[in-house]
Symmetry: C3
Subunit: 345 residues, 3 copies
């Protein structure tokens, strides 16, 4: 399917600079684009490619100022990345959604699965479970008993959802994600441990996306709660009784220990670790690999293990590099000081 | 089902303070409890909630001293957490255990699977494999050839157990765990690598629990050994030829590199990393995100990367924060020292 | 099956010291070996075991010099580890390869699956997908639409391969690996995020091995590229649009953020984290748990977070341990300096 720059600009309510009649039929990254493709410039690290890209159309922010002439047609919009997202979403929506039940599947008689749902082959939907309208469940998914899943969710292959889990609407669970496994709770019993049965649940609100092979444990009692709009990347671990606030985003391999409460609109880099039984405020930003041991105030930006204010971490890290020289300076100072003391005697 | 404080106290051999006739029908966390629920106080961080909780019954340690009057009935026991575990276990045991074979499943003719086992739909049990009495195998599990699994295990959905693996009794494997995948062994061959076939096995002793999406690699030769009572949390990685001692506990996302031997009764926080070919003694405690490069003595408590004695790490970390100021002090001292030297001339 | 030292030495073109007629029927680690087994000495940490091992045959490097007499027959070769790999590979090849289709499986009519492939039970191969000759696909694997997989691959149980993925020949994917899940891309939309559809693909070249429960995300546009000979350990995460160069090796739980380009022949320890949108050169070595925030030159060896040259990191870490003492020294120097200043007045 081909679209002209004019058609795209009209759709995005953008302004054209250059030839409005040029057509594109695919997307490409700015540094790899070929003629006939549309690309975008959002991360300014890639700005130099604007002047050499072979793309036919570039989406670009209205505020961007050219420093040289460019050959592609530009479509200027308020936010190039958001506009790209709109175009890509159009494409996604044009794809035919799967429906119907492949065979064999296992759907318990007491389960409620609307006709317009897709149920992939070798999937198991257990007793008393209820699936919302237009939800797509790929092959080899396991859904335990008494689970509820809302409308228009996508459950990718091999997702495992334990009994009693509640999932809202418009959620996406990627392949291999495990929801509702037992929390890690044991009581010492002599040298060994006895298991604390985990009788709570996991509740996931609307518009949540959970990455491949991520794990979210059920609560000991009560619930582990993932609030609406949360996005968790691959291999993230959420322990029992954790609560994650609205629209918080965690990059891959981050782990949150038990009973910790994370605020809304936080952004965590990859491989962050957060201790149990603490509170992290709203709008907290944590650099990759940070280790947070204590509660964190709203609007903090932190980094390191144990995590410090990010600017302080950067400053201390810069000095960390110089430690061998500083140690040497101190040794010299002590020597001089001893000499001085002797001199002064 | 309802129980009175008296019934519960009798079962736990605890002492009642307050109304012995109050009834509960559910559990709750102390800060979220509603009337009609039982809660517990074990972690002293939550002690302030004791005076405001709406729970009808609170399990509490005999040694705990009230600082204000409380409204719930208290049941005083030696260890509130262990008593809670006992109650939760009662509930668990009351749940009906699944039995029988769902359809379709694949069970090789040469496999031995007792009648009282549960075999969930779409599960595959391969040739010459032997399953113990009363073991429950959920849907979509893969068990390779020549595997032995003991009595009363629970294998959750989607667990993958490679050929030759041996698993003891009373083990719990959570969804998506992979046992017996090839160790990561390659020999350089020019610029590329040739694979070292991994002909060893994984052996897991009794009473082991393994978290969701955790991975335990088979040995190159001999075995990767998880001793009895070990508890591994979600997304833990155990490399080839590792040995983990009895009753050792590792929190989520911890990784142990090849051929390392971990002692008994260790406790590792989340995201700990341990190098290959070293020995970690018994009763070693490692803080979250620690990186251990060298062998560790019995009874050590360590933290940081590279790991230090935990108290020393805390002290050094405290100074790390002050490094920019200390650097400035040193610069000033050098300047003064130069001046002094000049003065003294 | 038994082999004599002479037969093995002939096969490996090695030199025998000791009895050439001794027979072995199994492999063992040097410290655990029993009579009738063959072992090897490659990592010099294990050299002391050479003089006490009960193995009947030891493979050893030609350059190794004995310091005491030994009882096993020695077979001296150029590279003991590579020779071991050759022997283990022989054993592997002697194992009968599985073929045929178990039942039930789901293979779309439009899929191309040669007769000599193995397709395990409960596996799903979707529309227009093409599998190469002699490839083995274990049970419960999901392969989406329009996927191509080359010859002689092994896809272990429960692997999930999303639509459009391309995989070369001689690749091994371990259980639970997820290939082609959506990249983690969202555009802010008020307080919430809107998903950036990920319309790119994953391409994996020849001779790649991917560990259990590892995840490789598809590109936003274009492709995420794993070049030939790459070896990724368990639970590794590769984000969208990453490129990993030939023969690069990453240990378990390492994560690479989006759009980063990793060079050829790199070696990363476990739990390494690399930021997005940077370039890591060829032959770069990164110590376990390193955190790399900026582009790295060819042939660098780095460690720490943020990563430093490994020797500098070691030196700075040594001083980190002494920080409390150094801080005390500085305080004393300041006190002395003040006194001196007063003295000099």
């Amino acid at each position: 399917m081909e679209f002209s720059a004019q058609q795209i600009a009209d759709f995005l309510k953008g302004d054209i600079t250059g030839n409005p009649h040029v057509n594109v039929s695919d997307f490409a990254k700015i540094e790899e684009a070929v003629p006939g493709t549309l690309t975008f410039l959002s991360n300014m690290k890639y700005a130099p490619y604007l002047y050499s890209t072979k793309a036919s159309i570039v989406l670009i922010n209205k505020t961007f100022e050219l420093t040289e002439p460019v050959s592609p047609t530009l479509i200027r919009v308020d936010d190039a990345y958001a506009s790209l997202a709109m175009l890509l979403s159009l494409i996604e929506k044009a794809k035919q959604r799967k429906t119907g039940r492949e065979k064999p599947v296992y759907v318990a008689e007491s389960a409620s699965v609307p006709e317009n749902c897709y149920v992939g082959v070798f999937t198991c939907i257990s007793e008393n479970t209820s699936i919302g309208e237009n939800t797509q469940i790929y092959p080899q998914v396991f859904i335990g008993e008494n689970v509820t899943i809302g409308e228009r969710c996508i459950i990718y292959p091999g997702v495992k959802i334990y009994a009693e889990t509640r999932i809202g609407k418009n959620c996406i669970l990627h392949a291999g994600a495990v929801i509702g496994s037992d929390g890690f709770g044991f009581a010492p019993e002599g040298e060994a441990y006895s298991k604390i049965p985990q009788i709570g649940i996991v509740e996931i609100e609307d518009n949540v996306e959970i990455g491949a092979n991520a794990t979210i444990d059920r609560a000991t009692m009560g619930k582990t709660l993932i609030r609406k709009g949360v996005k968790l990347d691959n291999l993230v671990h959420i322990a029992h009784n954790v609560e994650v606030g609205e629209n918080t985003v965690m990059a891959a391999q981050t782990g949150i220990a038990g009973s910790t409460k994370i605020g809304a609109s936080c952004m965590f880099g990859g491989q962050v670790g957060i201790s149990g039984h603490i509170e992290v405020g709203d709008n907290v930003k944590l650099g990759a690999q940070s280790g947070v041991h204590n509660s964190v105030k709203h609007n903090s930006t932190m980094m390191g293990t144990p995590a410090l204010d990010a600017r302080n971490f950067a400053k201390s890290s810069a000095v960390f590099k110089q430690l061998p020289e500083l140690r040497w300076d101190i040794i010299q100072l002590i020597k001089n000081s001893d000499n001085n003391t002797n001199d002064n005697k």
